[in-house]
Amino acid sequence: MQHAKLLGYLTLFALGGAGCLAIVSSQGGGEAELPIEPRAPNPRDVAVQPGYRLEVVAKDLTYPSGITFDDQGRAVVLEAGYAYGEDFATGRLVRIEADGKKTVLAQGKNVPWTGVQYQGGDFYLVEGGTVEGGRIVKIGQDGKRTVLAENLPSFGDHHTNGPAVGDDGYVYFGQGTATNSGVVGEDNWEFGWLKRHPAFHDIPCKDVTLTGENFTTDNPLTEDEDDEAVTGAFLPFAAASTKGQVIKGQVPCSGAVMRVSKDGGPVELVAWGFRNPFGLRFAPNGKLYVTDNGYDTRGSRPVFGNADWLWEVEKGRWYGWPDFADGHRMDTASDNRYTPMFGDHIRSLVTTMDAPPPAPTALFPVHSSATGLDFSRNAKFGFEGQAFVALFGDMAANVGKVLNPVGYSVVRVDPKTGVMYDFAVNKGHRSEPASKNEGGGLERPVDVKFDPAGEKLYIVDYGTLVVDDDVTQGYRRTGVLWRIVPDGVK
């Protein structure tokens, strides 16, 4: 016992002297050793909540990103048609037949296709729009395609996401930001989009007054290796800001939840100040919730150690981006907690904002990439009223360093308390993807939805996506559709 205590205090001493992050290399789940073995999904390699079982419904999907169910209860999966690392494929809406065969209902090139919901005979589909700008599209069962909204600002880091179709006749969707934290930088060049759209930048939803913070970087847009660029917030790359400069707000905008009528019409702002509002869903109590990915430790204004979030969306509210994290103002946060190791102290970019943001409903692990969600509505499944959330998994080391893989699982969250526990996670010594632990379990869960009866939870597993020497690479035909079924339900 004395030895245990001594080791405990020495551990404390060791941590205090350096800090693990300073001395250990990053251990992200995507930092796999190549080549990647062919995928063979095996439910036995996944630990699920006792009283439930996991089944494979479909495999060999290419970058699946969402799921919905038609009038006959058939699963219809969305294939994104895009992977980070600039692998452009075809976006597809694919019905999974009872015998496992796949029927393509629609396809397109304005990828990534990020989400879909079926309601009243129509599919409401989100074209993420890294090619032509984000779109909200309605597709009838006869294949007729109606664009409800277009030219959404999706050329940057994050895309148009969602949707959630409300009972009020509107399609709600999320729009991610162009950048990590408000400033276009060399990281956006490395992502690829700054070459295609050198004038693209974040757009505020309402007028903002800048503090005049500027950031100096190399200028990859010119051939002069010594050329430098000075860039301010909400401005194109190499455009400096001045103190007191006002950037006019407009809609559609970056980092927002917006909506459009199911019949089309103007895009309306619902709430803003998000970073990457990805998964939207109405809870059984009628409230709208959204998952949101926190800042990365990258680019001109890197931010360290903030969570991903689950927010309850209040109409008209501002949620904190680009100056707040976890509900805290970053420039005055205690202990400089969001400042990267050896990095500059984070200063605010804007002086005028609405009221401070609310506290998040729940905080997900740092870099876990909280994505799709749904709420349990049926006692047969259990956990009624709780949210089930897909954690896509970290993209370290591109987004920052981690000591262990983070995410690659499905968690359940009590929205009343923010308490969360794993519901499905790979067996093994770490919560890492199948490609890392060489098993047959989960790779990157990206969406979860209950079937129409609310008895079975479907997991859309995007497939293998690795980060090798800072190069991101997706593997086509590695996506899997899983299903969690309670014992006693066929």
Binding site: A4, K5, L6, L7, G8, Y9, L10, T11, L12, F13, A14, L15, G16, G17, A18, G19, C20, L21, A22, I23, V24, Q27, V48, Q49, P50, G51, F304, G305, N306, D326, S334, D335, R337, M341, A362, L363, P365, V366, H367, S368, G400, V402, L403, N404, V406, S409, T417, G418, V419, M420, Y421, D422, F423, A424, V425, K427, G428, H429, R430, S431
Partner: protein, 127 residues
């Protein structure tokens, strides 16, 4: 024991401690549903505080951005000291952030997580 001997022992012990503290291979074997038994109001309070303040870096007590907590034999006093001092990149939680009772509740919850992990490992081994 001469001075050189003391220095060598201290250096070796610190290296072991760093390995224990940072060793990424030592995090929890995830077992879904292996939740800690929370039979007191204080433990439930500790759970809620942990989820708000700690879970982001130590998900479920396992490693993530930060090191795992549930594989270390650290006594409650050491856990509380870490919370107050914020070693390395970890934020420091002052009395304005967390009261003494709050810290006690969190340390109790961390121990409960550790026990839940041990129970889950034993169950897995028995299968």
């Amino acid at each position: 024991m001469n001075k050189m001997h003391i220095v060598l022992v201290a250096a070796g012990a610190t290296a072991v401690a760093l390995g224990v503290a940072c060793g990424s291979q030592q995090s929890s074997p995830p077992v879904a549903g292996a939740e800690p038994k929370l039979d007191t109001a204080e433990l439930k309070h500790g759970e809620a505080l942990f989820m708000r303040n700690c879970n982001q870096c130590h998900p479920g007590g396992a490693g993530g951005l930060g090191p795992a907590l549930n594989n270390k034999p650290a006594p409650k006093g050491a856990i509380a000291l870490v919370i107050r001092t914020g070693p390395g990149q970890m934020p420091r939680f002052s009395h304005d952030d967390l009261s003494a009772d709050d810290v006690d509740a969190i340390t109790d919850y961390v121990v409960a997580l550790r026990n839940a992990k041990s129970d889950a490992e034993e169950m897995a081994a028995a299968k």
